[in-house]
Amino acid sequence: MIEIDAIDGRLLRALARDATQSAGALGRRLGLSQPATWRRIRRLEAAGVIRGRQLRLDGEKLGFGVTVFLGVKLALRGRVSLEDFERAVTAIPEVQTVEHVLGLFDYRLRVVARDIPDFERVLRRRIMTLPGAGEVEANVLLSEERLPGPL
């Protein structure tokens, strides 16, 4: 874990919005020189604070009109290996994220589909047939916003 100051915080906020900005342009906005900005970015990357970069696409404009979050409970716990379930679920292209959680469900999946019939196809053919999949709860995403967090 590294200590960050207020300038690092502003730098992270700016990079989360747009990671393609040059160190020079970022530095001008933050009142830093180009090399000083570059050194701060390198330090944040080296410490793993910047985990990577992500291309943001408008799914709807690309024909993916439906995003559904699935809570999945494993059936017959103990007899099915988590690894088998995780390997199989990770391989499904429509499954964008898989999180292992504690609580009402064992896994939380983010699934993208063209429309509701397409989602039903993914659910029946891909999700329900996963090794160990038990109870499934679906919630259709209506809106989503990401916030800057405590920076």
Partner: protein, 151 residues
């Protein structure tokens, strides 16, 4: 709206968001000029929204991540708007999603440790307006994180 070359560019870009336009063109087997024209067009259409840095909150000392699934008291006409407006003011809330389903809203909350989480939960979350039910899912591990679309 998009042809195979556009989709090919997006596939490579999604897989490696840090690629320059020149590198991207090379992978997709086209000239940089051709790739750039296509990328600019997709940006103008709003299909490509940008590239953002992904922050690893654990590296900043936020070891705990909890998903709070909230059901609202819908007999109150403004329940959604009032709840969302107040939830946005909590710095540790990093994501807000609304759903059609059993759950109305989901908040992603980060905290330094369980004691810190408990403090946020008691002092900030329980005071949010129009909550009728809350369930918590504690985040254990990310199994798949690529939010890529199956293009």
């Amino acid at each position: 709206m998009l042809d195979d070359e556009d989709r090919r560019l997006l596939r490579y870009w999604q897989a490696e968001p840090s690629l320059s336009q020149g590198e991207l063109a090379e992978r997709a087997g086209m000239t940089t000029g051709r790739a750039t024209r296509r990328i600019v067009r997709m940006q103008e259409l709003g299909i490509v929204q940008g590239v953002g840095a992904v922050i690893d909150w654990a590296a900043l000392g936020y070891a705990v991540e909890v998903s709070l699934r909230v059901t609202l008291d819908k007999t109150q006409g403004n329940a959604f708007d009032a709840f969302l407006a107040e939830a946005r003011k909590v710095p540790e809330v990093i994501e807000i999603q609304t759903f059609l389903g059993r759950v109305d809203v989901r908040l992603s909350i980060i905290a330094r440790d369980m004691a810190h989480y408990q403090q946020i939960y008691r002092s900030r979350i329980l005071g949010l307006p129009h909550i009728s039910e809350i369930e918590a899912l504690m985040h254990v591990a990310r199994i798949k994180t690529s939010k890529g679309l199956p293009l």
